[in-house]
Symmetry: D2
Subunit: 301 residues, 4 copies
């Protein structure tokens, strides 16, 4: 497999598409191209690459939302590629493994979205949860905010601080809702750590559902039997236990006192939550072993 | 004002009540005694002190719960002092300032409880929120776990980690429910920082309530007008903004899309969440200026 | 005492001296003006203020170095105010308390400089140390790098990292040498914390000096007897023990095995290392109680 | 290769040698046994294993010091196995690669020792440095202190703190001196991070040596040409750049102003500084590829 690193981050940040345009031809025939670009830069480039290379794996949000009409509201731009949106395969193997085989364009999910989706989807699939009023309360390490220095992400701003952000309107909201076919309120928080996402999700039982912690855990275990990277645990997931690995740890509880389901997922936002997940999807798209290059065991402490 | 530090932490930890018993006489006539002891050590000592000293301010949970029957379930011991429970004044000045004046026994609230109560109480008082199905999702710095070294609180265990604990059964649950006269599911998390609590609370509107973010903020501002330590903010509260001070920062949002109220409070768990709150209550009990010795401005960064 | 906050940081950063020039008149007659500006902005403003206000306390390096010829080499600009350099009083009360009384222009020392000077000066004064080949190896929290976001001070760059910087040529070198009348090699390091400086200093004994740890500590204790903010300790100084306070903790050891003296100082770079030290000097300059507004006890943990 | 995990950490901590004695027979014939035990537990076990298994790689200090007479002073116990001490090969491949081939007993170096040795040894070998008066000033992450909870290693004790410890008498001192055949003063510090060691070393030039930064770097580059894990860099080594990898980053400077050499090394104390280095030595002892299982690229951020 040849690899070419075509685009400097600086060029991408400057929105400078001339070198991209010039360079695209040199990518012809590659097995796979990963795009780590601003949303609109991906959207400008992907149509030229799809079909020219074996598989385009996009890490932006440009091809994540099925419904093009959501882009203006949540991302502030019009999406004018309905065919490519429809053709893109959502890069969450635990949900779309079959479609990923041979995919030409993969949309890698958002980091929070992967955590929330893997915590809740099997419980919704099994008809256990009410589809309205779900809450995803999550915390992320600072690397989720990108590399560029900003006032909010200096060491002195973040260290010893815990705070919510993006109240009511974080862009991962519609993506979680799309994955779960449910109504979600999503509240992200910034935690003083480099990596890691913990999503603590709350839901009410579906009408008539008889729930227990044991049945919730059994449902998760059934759903993820055979999954190489999802680990259902009895204890409480810890972001650190997944640091540097492609693993996701999930658990669930039923609180009979208040009639509430809690489902929790932990992952590393830079591996399973981004590039690790992208690689997992690419492996599948290319017919390789799905776990190639993806550790299950990370770094501790 | 005389001060005497009578009890070594080691003696208290060992549950060694002999020196306590011997030493109590030496406390007679003091204006105020602060008890920073295990719950049952406080319960053994307080009855001997109340009446002998001007005011006993207890920082344990021994006198926090009005309903003695809750102690076996949530704390694992029987409470056999119903009169003292009834006589104790709950040390949250924003809710019980009048009763605190001249109080002989003050029960300082739990750190999480103070945050959740101050975020939600005015909205419940105003009849804006449904009293069932409330969720308090909170994160705390490590000092909330006490000073004793434990496997879960070593630097290498905590740093770069974010995790939930006490799922479904944290002891602050009944205390929050008591304060709010509402049903609460409480999920605490441990964040890699020394100090600080952020409580992110979710509720549904009361039947028929017409809500907006503006009306929620106005309700909070009305309730806390004149409060020296509660600051209602439009932005998102940050634990670090309260570090080392006795301040509480609160805000609220109404998400009309999902019909959910979010109320958030940030405080320093060691000041307003514990000893600062205890001092504020003591100031009131003793007829002193409520803000004596309590900074509104903390340490940054 | 009136206070006026005249200059926005943004204006200062932009080097925009027009508003400064306009605003200077409004400062006339103030008891004290603190300048927290870039070196050359201070140098432009101070001459207009000295004499117009009671005392100018400058926190930049503009008036720290007695020898104007050092500025081009270490700071990259010419210093054209030899009279003001000569008139400025160096704002380290432990060394210049008498001169500070009534001072019209105070040059607040650099943060590392204060630590290194207070660790070593009494030992040099007593003739115990060789004046050549001293080493100051120090670590600082990130707030020492200022508030502006930079690639090197983002949370993700700094957290979990320890690294040296400014090898051989950090600007505090000539200032330490000036204070100690000795030859210094200074190596600063960046530690993943908000505040704090620890200076670990190495020196050889003066020719013929008979040293012991006890005699070094006794020399420090004699020198700092009566000092309100310098605490000589037998143990190992910890930056955290000084966090948020104006205290400096110092100790010393003599290693008879290798014939080396170690002197260590810890302080909070934002209090005693900067604004706290500036306030201490201002208190003296204005004839106020030296400790006014300056805590000896900080925040823990 | 079979692997057996014989000894629970708890059993080892309790010094319980009965299960060890019973279990040793089950290890017979293994290719390699790694001992991660207290010094004296290793010393009790190693003689029974050497010869019974292919290679014993000990991670304690039991076989690090050639001179048995150093043990009582620095470790507090007598060493009664002079033959095994003499037979053990010191597990620093960059210094003892040939002797490691086929070694039956490997003594893995201390974490600080590896850093200091790799920074200084080539410069001493080349005759550039004076062999007396060297200073090794180093900082370590908290994992260097082991897993057991202690008052000094709780999160609240360590976070936001930087402090020296083991002044004058840290046990790695004689080991560094042995490796370098030089006199060393070693001062370790504890930094608020999980992993990483940075050793900043100071030395004077050998008599008559004409030094420059360029010549020091060239000497390091020559010495480490072909080394798979040592990277000589022009910049300033950062612990984080080595996190999770087996890499060591080294640099050097000559300060002509003060006539001082600075040599700096950064590594991850848990990989190259301990288990990674042990694995590297085992690979060589067993005739495997030296880099097997050892990453050069770690985790960032």
């Amino acid at each position: 497999m040849r690899t070419i690193e075509l685009l400097s981050p600086a060029a991408a940040a400057a929105g400078n598409t001339v070198p991209l345009a010039k360079g695209v031809a040199s990518l012809d025939g590659l097995d796979v191209v990963f795009l780590g670009l601003p949303h609109q830069a991906s959207m400008a480039l992907a149509p030229r690459l799809v079909g020219q290379v074996g598989c385009v794996v996009d890490l932006s949000a440009a091809y994540r939302l099925r419904d093009a009409s959501l882009y203006p509201r949540w991302y502030g731009f019009e999406h004018d590629q309905p065919e490519l949106l429809a053709a893109a395969v959502y890069g969450l193997p635990e949900r779309h493994r079959e479609a990923l085989a041979g995919a030409r364009l993969v949309a890698t999910p958002g980091c929070y979205v992967t955590a929330a989706t893997l915590a809740l989807a099997p419980l919704l699939d099994a008809g256990l949860l009410h589809r309205r009023g779900l809450i995803v309360d999550a915390a992320s390490g600072v690397s989720g905010a990108g590399r560029a220095p900003k006032p909010d992400t200096t060491f002195c701003a973040v260290d010893e601080d815990f705070t919510a952000y993006g109240l009511l309107d974080h862009r991962h909201t519609p993506e979680i809702e799309q994955n779960l076919d449910a109504q979600i309120l999503f509240t992200p928080h910034l935690a003083p750590m480099n990596r890691g996402i913990l999503a603590t999700c709350y839901a009410r039982p579906a009408d008539g559902a008889e729930l227990s912690t044991a049945s919730l855990l059994a449902t998760l275990r059934d759903a993820y039997a055979g999954e190489p990277f999802v680990v259902v645990i009895d204890g409480s997931p810890s972001t650190k236990a997944t640091l540097g690995s492609n693993a996701v740890h999930v658990t669930a509880r039923y609180d009979s006192r208040t009639g509430t389901v809690i489902a929790i997922a932990a992952l590393d936002n830079l591996t399973k939550g981004a590039s690790g997940g992208a690689l997992q999807s690419a492996n599948i798209a290319l017919g390789l072993d799905e776990t190639l290059g993806l550790p299950l065991v990370g770094v501790a402490p």
